[in-house]
């Protein structure tokens, strides 16, 4: 599904190489986790895949089901099926959460040549999905993420994911800022979306999120490359021994 080949990326402003040849394939129905120390390029990878400004791809490719992602605008990538759950969801005063969600859902449908969701159908769907994430009506009415707690913001990300039904979900440190209960709730939301047609790329520092979202494959990223790939056990190894051993081993 998601195929990244020899991806090299630098920061436009600082002329600093962040990704130095990332190779990664995520198959449909699979959950891949990327772990790695701070500054290894994990978040950069998520931003480059979703199309954020400020990064220059100097080499390599990234495709989703054969479509070149790097050539697309962020909204085109979204319509093609890419979803990034932000590490720091953005607060947007003045834009209602519900309005935002509906605009997004219908913009994607329109881009794919599908019929737009009627107000009633949308409302029904969003209410049902919000309920399972314990998002109350008040949160739906409020401006996007404004005044939300850390946990509410992350739940709101998952709600968007559930409504947009993307093919490829990228979760950037979704566990950061969450207590154990909130993490469970978010993980349940993610697990509910797991299916054969959908791929996941879960970026995290810690193994604990992976207790709740069980990965099929775990990658270790360091200094802009995937340095080691393994099964779920690899995450446990990191948890027990830290990154130092692995990095020493691959160097």
């Amino acid at each position: 599904m998601l195929e990244i080949k020899n991806l090299h990326v630098k920061l436009e402003e600082e002329d600093k190489q962040i990704l130095k040849g990332v190779d990664l394939t995520v198959e449909a129905g699979k959950v891949h986790a990327i772990m790695g120390p701070n500054g290894s390029g994990k978040s950069t990878l998520s931003y480059v895949l979703s199309g954020r400004d400020g990064y220059e791809v100097t080499e390599g490719s990234a495709t989703l089901n054969g479509e070149d992602l790097l050539e697309m605008e962020p909204e085109e990538r979204a319509a093609a099926g890419v979803f990034l759950a932000f590490q720091y969801p953005v607060e947007i005063p003045g834009v209602g959460n519900m309005t935002f969600l509906r605009t997004a859902v219908n913009a994607q449908r329109k881009a794919r040549g599908e019929e737009e969701l009627s107000a009633t159908d949308f409302l029904k769907e969003v209410r049902a999905k919000a309920k399972s994430l314990k998002i109350d009506a008040d949160m739906l009415k409020r401006p996007v993420n404004v005044g939300f707690s850390g946990g509410e913001k992350k739940r709101n990300e998952i709600l968007q994911m559930a409504m947009l039904e993307p093919k490829m979900c990228i979760l950037d440190e979704t566990d950061s800022g969450l207590d154990v209960d909130a993490m469970k709730l978010v993980a349940e939301g993610v697990n509910a979306l797991r299916n054969e047609g959908r791929g996941f790329l879960v970026i995290t520092h810690y193994q604990r999120l992976l207790d709740h979202i069980k990965p099929d494959v775990v990658h270790i990223m360091a200094d802009g490359r995937i340095v080691k790939t393994g099964g779920p056990d690899l995450a446990l190894e990191v948890e027990n021994n830290g990154y130092a051993d692995i990095l020493a081993e691959v160097n």
Binding site: G51, F83, V90, F100, V105, A107
Partner: protein
């Protein structure tokens, strides 16, 4: 002190094109206003109060011609049940207007107030304008008082069931209209006044509003999209005890618009909110000049002005809160912000506070900024196309000003219009 010769000449050149209406009972007020004009002289670029807005075309002897505005869109507030009062090129048109009788309010044409012997009107005409000439001179308002050719006197004694809607239409490319309205809201009475429509090629409008204790006036105005117009408007409002004045103006397009609000809180516990949202493009120039005087205890004032500018548009804000000695417990708030959609547009702001009481809370802020790139990316990453996302953020930026409209259906109408305009423009 004698006026500089250049200024005096410019003033006399303008005055030479006008003649004082006979106007019976307001004649004395008009003569006094004319004397004020001669004493002050009409504004020029050198005046500090006109530093950011060139008044040349507002004071020139002849109005600059402006193309008539044509649009297939229904006019603003069309869907609302309201009492319509129509002016074409600054002249009241009875046939186009509704019957002016409505419970809780009496409405008369300015020229009829003398024969009907309407005392309150005679006591208000030109009075608040004259008070508003200090500490800052507003010669265009005095010019208006002297030479206004039409207008209405609205006397609110109850709570009329629908808004009074002043509708302006533009039929001649060279029209140069001067309108003067006066409004008296009696104790405990409440009214909503709407204004909209392209008024004239050049439009000088003055409204004097006197709100008695416990009265309330809501004002919602839409200016636009007759881009070639030039307009100078003044609203002079005096508030009594526990009274409320809320004014919101939407401005879209316009090569020159100067809206002045002069508000005086003279009774304790009164509330005045003035707000404006404007969207300008290219040679758009919009100036909000606000002067709020607190002269009583425990009053609240808010100024909320938001401007969206692009392609070299200019926005101006001059806002002042003056808290007089003894006006304790004043709560004053002022915010002026611009959203600059490119590097060519500019926002010029002069926020001022002048406080002579020691137990007050006044805050003011002014910012200029671009679209929040992080928010834009967030919206786009969810599939919202860049133009729609920009429009969503633009509306969100204007929301704080639009929120000042108390009537939800009017606020929604304004938002819907804005959405449409933003979506249609390139």
């Amino acid at each position: 002190m004698a006026l500089p010769e250049v200024k005096q000449n410019a003033t006399e050149a303008r005055l030479a094109t006008l003649s004082l209406p006979e106007a019976g009972c307001t004649r004395a007020a008009r003569e006094a206003a004319l004397a004020r004009v001669r004493e002050m002289g009409l504004p020029s670029r050198r005046d500090e109060y006109w530093k950011y807005t060139h008044p040349d075309t507002l004071v020139s002897p002849e109005a600059t011609p402006a193309a008539l505005f044509k649009s297939d869109e229904p006019m603003m507030f069309d869907g609302f049940d309201r009492l319509k009062i129509v002016f074409i090129d600054g002249v009241f048109i009875a046939e186009a207007s509704d019957d002016l009788s409505l419970e809780g309010v009496s409405i008369d044409r300015l020229e009829d107030i003398c024969c009907k012997d309407i005392h309150w009107a005679k006591e208000l005409y030109g009075v608040l304008e004259a008070r508003g000439q200090s500490p800052v001179e507003r010669p265009l308002a005095a010019l208006n008082t002297a030479f206004a050719t039409d207008g209405v006197a609205i006397h609110v004694t109850g709570k009329p069931s629908k808004p009074i809607s002043l509708i302006y239409r533009h039929a001649s490319e060279t029209s140069d209209a001067i309108l003067h309205h006066i409004v008296r809201v009696e104790s405990g009475a409440e009214v909503t006044i709407l204004e909209n429509g392209p008024a004239a090629s050049r439009f000088n409008k003055c409204m004097e509003i006197d709100i008695a204790d416990g009265g309330a006036l809501h004002h919602v105005r839409a200016q636009g999209r007759d881009h070639q117009r030039r307009a100078a408007t003044h609203m002079f409002t005096r508030l009594g005890k526990e009274s409320v004045y809320k004014s919101f103006t939407l401005t879209v397009n316009g090569v020159l618009t100067r809206n002045e609000q002069v508000v005086e809180l003279t009774g304790d516990d009164a509330i005045a909110h003035v707000a404006g949202a404007c969207v300008g493009d290219g040679d758009f120039h919009h100036d909000d000049t606000v002067f709020i005087t607190h002269d009583a205890v425990n009053c609240e004032s808010r100024q909320v002005f938001k401007k969206v500018l692009r392609n070299g548009a200019t926005g101006v804000f001059q806002g002042k809160i003056l808290v007089k000695e003894g006006a304790q417990k004043t709560d004053g708030y002022q915010i002026s912000q611009s959203l600059l959609l490119d590097d060519d547009s500019q926002f010029l702001a002069k926020p001022e506070l002048e406080i002579y009481a020691d137990d007050v809370a006044c805050s003011h802020g002014s910012t200029s900024g671009a679209i929040d790139e992080t928010a834009l990316f967030y919206l786009r990453s969810r599939g919202v196309p860049v133009k729609d996302a920009t429009n969503m953020l633009t509306l969100a930026f204007l929301a704080e000003a639009v929120d000042e409209i108390e009537d939800q259906s009017l606020a929604e109408d304004i938002v819907t219009r804005l959405e449409g305009w933003l979506a249609r423009r390139g």
